[in-house]
């Protein structure tokens, strides 16, 4: 059994906003039955304010696909189309207190459906997004543009991660080579070198640690610097942030005040995370300490 969070289960067992939506004026269809998941998002948008008044979904898919769809409808309601467009797949996953890595593509599907629906409302061709890319993964019809964008947005660095987020490479696996090429290109943009999973580490261990990698102390100092730099903005909003702990790639923080509401918090954390990644030159995740706690408990309670 997957280790789903309580929130995923809750949204799966009691999905919100299901079925056709009366008066819907925007629809986004993504996925297909052969892929194993498909999502139709229906929105009712106020033509004057562009505020999403209501949202419904229909989903064919696994537990997390249904939960992600349900979460998405809850997240977009009350937002303007422009605000809704800012929602990333990570935001959807965060709303559900996280998704197993193999299921991240469910949140990607949610974001895509949203973009498709917004394009549909505005009379735009959403498919334009996709025209540039050559088809890379034939099993799941994923093109190079989609892979590139997802690698960029989520700072992915392995083929396995690409498969988890986009499905590409998860079928016959013959496209792993082109995926590696895309990884090499996009990682180079952010100053990293792609290392194939199976590749023998050619360099001796000493040389390996050398470039750019910060020592533990320097790393903590950098993290503190970033926190200090963002604090004034938060304080101005009557909020605050405090560094709680550093667990490997997870930086645990306490957010207080105005920014501890769910959606604002996610946006704030995402912003801080980007700054952290820039400052440290490595991928890290900024997570609320309270949530990390809850995560740990949940995964102990229903393992296996």
């Amino acid at each position: 059994m997957w280790d789903y969070t309580e929130k995923v289960k809750e949204h799966f067992y009691n999905p919100r906003n299901t079925g056709p939506l009366d008066g819907a004026n925007a629809t986004g269809d993504v996925g297909s039955i052969s892929c194993g998941d498909a999502l139709r998002l229906m929105l009712k948008v106020d033509p004057v304010t562009e505020i999403i008044q209501d949202a419904h979904f229909q989903t064919f898919g696994c537990g997390s696909a249904i939960a992600s769809s349900s979460a998405l409808t809850e997240m977009v309601k009350g937002k303007t189309l422009d605000e809704a467009k800012q929602i990333s797949n990570q935001d959807i996953a965060d709303f559900l207190d996280g998704l197993p890595p193999e299921k991240m593509h469910c949140s990607v599907m949610g974001r895509e459906a949203l973009h498709a629906a917004i394009a549909n409302y505005r009379g735009e061709e959403w498919s334009d997004d996709h025209e540039e890319g050559a088809l890379v993964c034939k099993c799941f019809a994923v093109d190079s543009q989609m892979i590139e964008d997802t690698i960029r947005a989520n700072k992915l660095s392995t083929v396995e991660e690409v498969t988890n987020y986009t499905k590409a490479g998860g079928g016959c696996s013959t496209c792993h080579e082109p995926i590696e090429e895309i990884l090499t290109k996009v990682m180079a943009e952010r100053g990293e070198t792609f290392v194939p999973a199976g590749a023998k580490k050619a360099k001796p261990a000493v040389a390996e640690a050398a470039p750019a990698k910060l020592g533990t102390l320097a790393r903590i100092r950098k993290i503190e610097e970033v926190i200090a730099a963002v604090r004034p903005t938060l304080l101005a909003d009557r909020g605050d942030i405090e560094l709680v702990d550093i667990e490997g790639k997870n930086i645990l923080v306490n957010l207080t005040g105005a920014c501890s509401g769910c959606q604002m918090e996610a946006a704030t954390l995402a912003g801080i995370q980007t700054k952290m990644i820039e400052a440290l030159g490595e991928f890290v995740r900024v997570v609320p300490a309270a949530k990390a706690q809850a995560h740990a408990c949940a995964s102990h309670a229903h393992g296996g």
Partner: protein, 405 residues
Amino acid sequence: MSTPTPIYLDNNATTACDPKVVEAMLPYFTEQFGNASSMHSFGNKVGVALKAARAKVQKLLGAEHDSEIVFTSCGTESDSTAILSALKAQPERKEVITTVVEHPAVLSLCEQLEKEGYTIHRLKVDDKGRLNLDDYAKVLSDKVAVVSVMWANNETGTYFPVVEMAEMANAVGVLFHTDAVQAVGKIDINLAATKIDMLSVSGHKLHAPKGIGVLYVRRGVRFRPLLRGGHQERGRRAGTENAPSIIGLGVAAELAMEAMEHERTYVKALRDKLEAGILAVVPHAFVTGNPENRLPNTANIAFEYIEGEAILMLLNKQGIAASSGSACTSGSLEPSHVMRAMGIPYTAAHGTVRFSLSRYTTEEEIERVIAAVPPIVAQLRKLSPYWGENGPVADPAKAFDPAYA
């Protein structure tokens, strides 16, 4: 809401250890911990018990000699040992015949062998999971080191005609191995009367513990061990015997023989009732595999337009355990290779659910499952964009038409 009593219908995945098996094993962890090879009374008693267990397994398989029974650590080890032994013993033969629907224990090994330069012939199946024996005859030659074909499929329960296929192989001097992990203990097997050279068993599928297996090797078959070392198992599988588990498997073999009639009649009737009960009320659902020729305990039903993992989660909420060939449950993203090999359309392949019964399954449990399934299917179909008011949308591919697909 109180949690409902669990109903376990996933016996093809693994079974509960029979309490009598556990009871028989326990002394061999404590008082009787000796090494069967030792020259003292601690070891001696264990040696006697191992011999008795071997005889019980021999009887279950209908083997002619007890020395044809080699204990291994699992079904997977037995499969690997059989195929690799055949290749090592006949280095001039570079081909293997198998099928597209084998368990990964055979398929993954064959993929690896292919990379190492061997030729693998994978026999195809039709829409009911049946082989075409003409295809088989065509690839059978003196270049083939071994044929490895499962007795019963783990997902659908469908039998392959292994007795006949072994005779065809024997006639041209080719070794024949069968992965009988799902068949042993559920149906009568009389190896002495067949031309099967090697056969794999896994204890945990017949109410013995996990981590114990058997490879049957017919007397006279040239054999090369996978593990070399001590002289255990007459040098065919080195390593100190897993005495408690072997003894447990002996008891399990005995119990399986006693329950065989029950399996063939009662369990089969429950399985048929389950299928009929569900199919009578759930539209757009069908049995996969070959209903005429399969294990008595297995029902594999495809529910169209919904996804298997979602079904399992809702079943699980009601305490019902089953499994699915859906991609999502395995994390592999593609639905089961068995369903794809049978050409089950994608509209159904993602929604297959396997119910596998055991001799412990009761009629009351089956009735609860029959009652539980239809509302779950209806609930998920209501969420599905491929399902309209009363049935699938007219043209699913058109009605749901993503811009970029």
